[in-house]
């Protein structure tokens, strides 16, 4: 089971800034190991965010997103206590979902 994400959602008026830090190696497929073999690409391909269960954002990522990816976006119309859910899927089919409440 992949490591949990850290999600912080801070409301300021109508706008809520959501910051997510995901734990993932994000191998580009460019690196070679000590034996000279290319380390295969292993990266998050899709990120979905929901607000109280309703999808609000989807992102598709390639290999150029940094290791332990950071994502920040601004949600409209959320109130403290609302639930923010984030799910990622990677190219191996592994997935991780975490939730946080808007503060």
């Amino acid at each position: 089971m992949p490591d949990p994400m850290r999600i912080r959602a801070q409301a300021a008026g109508d706008k809520t800034t959501v910051r997510v830090l995901m734990a993932h190696e994000m191998e580009t497929g460019q690196r070679k190991d000590a034996a000279g073999k290319t380390i295969p690409a292993w990266h998050i391909t899709e990120v979905n965010a929901t607000h109280n269960g309703k999808p609000v954002m989807t992102a598709q990522w390639g290999t150029s997103i940094s290791k332990n990816p950071f994502l920040q976006f601004v949600l409209k119309g959320a109130k403290p206590g609302d639930k923010i859910g984030v799910t990622w899927v990677d190219n191996r089919g592994e997935t991780r979902s975490d939730e946080a409440l808007v503060s």
Binding site: T28, I65, F73, N91
Partner: protein, 152 residues
Amino acid sequence: MPSRRELLRRSVGAAGLLAGLGLLPEAAQAAYAQAAFDAKSLGDVVKALGVSAPVDSKDVVMQGPDIAENGAVVPVTVGCALPGARRLLLLVEKNPAMLCGVFDISDAVEPSFATRVKMAQSSNVIAVALMADGRVLFSQKEIKVTLGGCGG
């Protein structure tokens, strides 16, 4: 204590179940824009996404440092000051994999996303906004990298 035969039978069953679960993400990834992520130029990326050639625009936001100390982790922000953006693209021109990300914008979020990217070398970083009315707008910023970030 289950027999060895029983344990083997159960583990095959579990593998079958996991394979079944593994099929689901693949179906979701059928929508993944693989051709766009494999493209080697901005023109090829937009063609793979089925949109027209991008036009330079002051209303597209491409923020980042002038000099990145660590090419493995460069903080960037892409955005669009105009309403009606449907998708934002983030590209690093001189990366082996040029397209970094595609962000789909719903009415519930602002058209602005911040993340961190790997940059192989000093390069233009490009934000492209795909508007609902079909316009394709872009803005770019040169970010210099002192230590390349693709592990080469």
